[in-house]
């Protein structure tokens, strides 16, 4: 009998605790999100009715988990961390809660325009940006100065090839250039798409016919394979964003073209051995500036299956607000403030002082146009991806074929022909091609 009383008491206190709403957030294990998780007690203090539960996963696993969860309407999460690729597609499928009637204090007009557009479908906003990025060129000012080289405001790929040749010194522990080689649509193909774009190529023509065997693709992939096999570190096909970030921060690369979000990490003496030696320049161009640098944002969205939409919205508004950015600036240092989301961040003198890369980043994000990603017309939006559900399959397969070319398992022509055949097959089965 006593035991029963004990259970009844336990149940009663349990239901008291339930008066509090618990929301579950799924997010990616990037440094900026880890900071968000660390600062959550501040949010819970300000909103005593809401408790936050975290699920933190690496990017690929997160994507699989969220996609299967939302497509099967399982409803395990109240807030999803998704990107500019998913937001419009999922919004179109009716899987996300539209974010409208936001409070005036949130200042939606302060959100950087291309980022906001990238998270909308037909003018309806489906996610709020936590941070946003473009791509740019990182280089070692000390190595450039030692060789009497100067970096122009807008470098070209021909210049980059020459510099890589000059600065490549594997015996001295410095490789000419580090680039992504790990297969995956969000890994090597993100970078390679921008390279193909700037060499004048495109994924599809106006009738959705794949263009992978076009002269532009061959030229771009030829340049890429030459760069990584001659002047890159060994094991390129295993290097993604994280691996390259480590190599660059350890001082093993003379140049690196990748996400602007790495700037905060590389310029921070706590995390980078070369913090005072890093230079920043725009992503190199070849024949056209269109699509030479990407646009991406990690953003927070609410699935339709959530039963705690109001609490979830409260958290999203907090985590993407000006106040949150200021909180990170105060507690973690302004160099670590979430970049790329708000004009006000870039107008802030404190941020400008702490972040020498601020101007290049803002310029890059402002000029990345997902609606005009290539020189020739295309039927899709997206700079480093194609905004259709089938692109994950396409990007991942083509990424493998290109890794196969880098590892010298196939020739350039044979590899691209196989990739072309694979993409044609997917597009036929998906009903784009007859």
């Amino acid at each position: 009998m006593r035991l029963w009383k004990f259970f009844a008491l336990a149940l009663a206190t349990g239901s008291l605790a339930l008066a509090q709403t618990t929301i579950t957030i799924a997010t990616v294990n990037n440094p900026d999100m880890i900071v968000m998780q660390k600062l959550t007690p501040e949010f819970e203090k300000a909103n005593p009715g809401i408790k936050v539960n975290w699920v933190v996963l690496p990017e690929n696993e997160l994507r699989q988990k969220l996609t299967t969860d939302i497509a099967t309407n399982a409803g395990s999460f109240d807030i999803l961390t998704i990107g500019t690729y998913e937001a419009p597609i999922w919004g179109k499928n009716g899987w996300l809660v539209e974010l409208k009637d936001l409070p005036a204090t949130y200042d939606l007009e302060d959100i950087i325009k291309p980022v906001r557009a990238g998270l909308s479908y037909q003018g309806r906003l489906y996610a709020l940006p936590f941070y946003a990025e473009s791509s740019m060129l990182y280089y070692r000012k000390d190595l450039f100065a030692a060789r009497g080289l100067t970096m122009p405001a807008q470098p070209t790929w021909n210049q980059v090839i020459n510099w890589a040749r000059t600065l490549h010194n594997p015996r001295g522990g410095v490789y000419g250039i580090c680039l992504r080689g790990l297969p995956g649509w969000g890994e090597n193909m993100a970078f390679i798409s921008t390279l193909v774009n700037t060499y004048g190529g495109r994924w599809f023509d106006e009738n959705w016919r794949p263009q992978l065997t076009s002269p532009e693709w061959k030229r771009a992939i030829g340049v890429y394979v030459d760069l990584v096999t001659r002047y890159g570190p060994p094991g390129v096909t295993g290097n993604g964003y994280t691996e390259n970030l480590t190599l660059m921060a350890e001082g093993k690369c003379a140049m690196w073209v990748d996400a602007t979000v790495a700037a905060g990490y590389l310029a921070n003496p706590k995390t980078s051995k070369v913090a005072d030696k890093i230079g920043f320049a725009k992503a190199p161009v070849a024949v056209t500036p269109n699509g030479s640098h990407w646009l991406w944002s990690w953003a927070l969205a609410i699935p339709r299956s959530s039963k705690k939409v109001e609490a979830a919205k409260t958290f999203i508004l907090w985590a993407t607000s000006k106040d949150y950015i200021a909180l990170v600036g105060r507690t973690q240092g302004w160099v670590s403030a979430p970049p790329g989301t708000r004009y006000s961040t870039y107008n802030n003198p404190e941020y400008q002082r702490a972040a020498p890369f601020a101007k290049v980043v803002l310029d890059s994000i402002n000029t990345a146009d997902p609606t005009k990603p290539t020189a020739k017309p295309v039927p899709y939006t997206g700079v480093q991806f194609v905004g259709i559900p089938e692109f994950q399959a396409i990007g991942t397969q083509v990424g493998q074929f290109i890794a196969g070319i880098v590892a010298r398992r196939t020739s350039l022509d044979a590899g691209l022909a196989q990739a072309q055949a694979a993409v044609e097959k997917i597009m036929k089965e998906a009903g784009y091609l007859r």
Binding site: I89, P183, P234, T237, G238, Q400, A422
Partner: protein
């Protein structure tokens, strides 16, 4: 001896009518847990079901199967699966046999040595793959690269230059102890008198091995081959954690291809069709391998 055996046999095999009813719940449970997933797989293999595209769904007949059969990637995957299973089988059985004969001998510290030799089998596949990838084979930080540099050689990027060989090496390292363990057990049932008799007749060590030990192990070996074939056909974690099926398609096996279709492309229908093919392949391989083994070993005995 034969009398008791006959007694046991007659007792076990003569089922009374009501035992069927007693067995039913267990059999039902077995059917529910093994056959329902398979029936569902069959069902989905005839449907177009792309998680990301809820608008285009429905029955498509044999389209998913046709999609695989006309895909060069599928045939590469089948070939890779057979190469992986075949190579690992040969290596593990030969190594396992050699090690088992070695550890069958008496020597000081044999217990400890046996335990150490078996331990790779207890390492989780993902952990073993990550250790091989990052601590041994990595061209910058790996032990092999360090050794190569010490010897004045260029370090090799193993997983890019020799991807399938690397996977075969990892899996063989893991599965040799399994073969060794089973073979060692088989050896222990070999009577010492037989070996002594052979020695008295003037047989040398090789003849002893070839004409007494191997024929004695016939049954054990076929069990090893059968069990390993079943497990090796589903090898996935090593590939997932080290090469992700690449570079190119060099290490894309059938299980990895099914994973890609289901969780890389979210095409559940196509993935289900791939799973059906995997079941068919497993059956073909099992029948083929067992026939081959059975015939050879019986031939050796006579």
């Amino acid at each position: 001896m034969t009398q008791t055996q006959a007694l046991v046999r007659s007792k076990t095999y003569r089922l009374r009518p009501n035992t069927a009813a007693l067995l039913a719940p267990a059999i039902l449970l077995l059917v529910v847990f093994t056959q329902i997933p398979f029936v569902l797989t069959l069902y989905y293999s005839f449907r177009r079901f792309n998680l990301l595209n809820p608008e285009r769904q429905g029955f498509v007949g044999l389209e998913n199967f046709h999609s695989h059969l006309t895909d060069p990637i599928f045939w590469t995957a089948v070939q890779n699966t057979l190469v992986l299973v075949g190579s690992v089988l040969v290596i593990t059985v030969l190594m396992g046999l050699a090690l088992a004969v070695l550890f069958y001998q008496d020597f000081p510290g044999r217990g400890l040595a046996r335990t150490l030799a078996i331990s790779p089998f207890f390492v989780m596949p993902v952990v073993s793959a990550l250790i091989w990838k990052n601590m041994l084979m990595h061209p910058v930080y790996g032990l092999f690269a360090w050794l190569a540099q010490r010897l004045g050689q260029e370090p090799i990027d193993w997983l890019a230059a020799y991807p399938m060989q690397s996977i075969v090496l990892m899996v063989s390292w893991q599965w040799t102890p399994f073969a060794m363990l089973l073979i060692l057990t088989g050896l222990q049932s070999l009577s010492k008198e037989q070996l002594e008799a052979a020695k008295i007749d003037g047989a040398n060590a090789w003849q002893e091995f070839r004409y007494i030990i191997v024929p004695h192990l016939a049954q054990t070996l076929s069990v090893v081959v059968m069990l390993e074939t079943i497990f090796l056909l589903t090898i996935f974690a090593e590939i997932y954690a080290s090469t992700s099926g690449g570079p190119g398609l060099a290490t894309t096996t059938l299980p990895y291809l099914i994973y890609l279709k289901a969780f890389g492309e979210y095409r559940i229908g196509v993935a289900a069709a791939g799973a059906v093919f995997a079941v068919i392949l497993a059956n073909i391989v099992a029948i083929f391998v067992l026939r081959l083994i059975g015939r050879n070993l019986q031939g050796g005995r006579t």
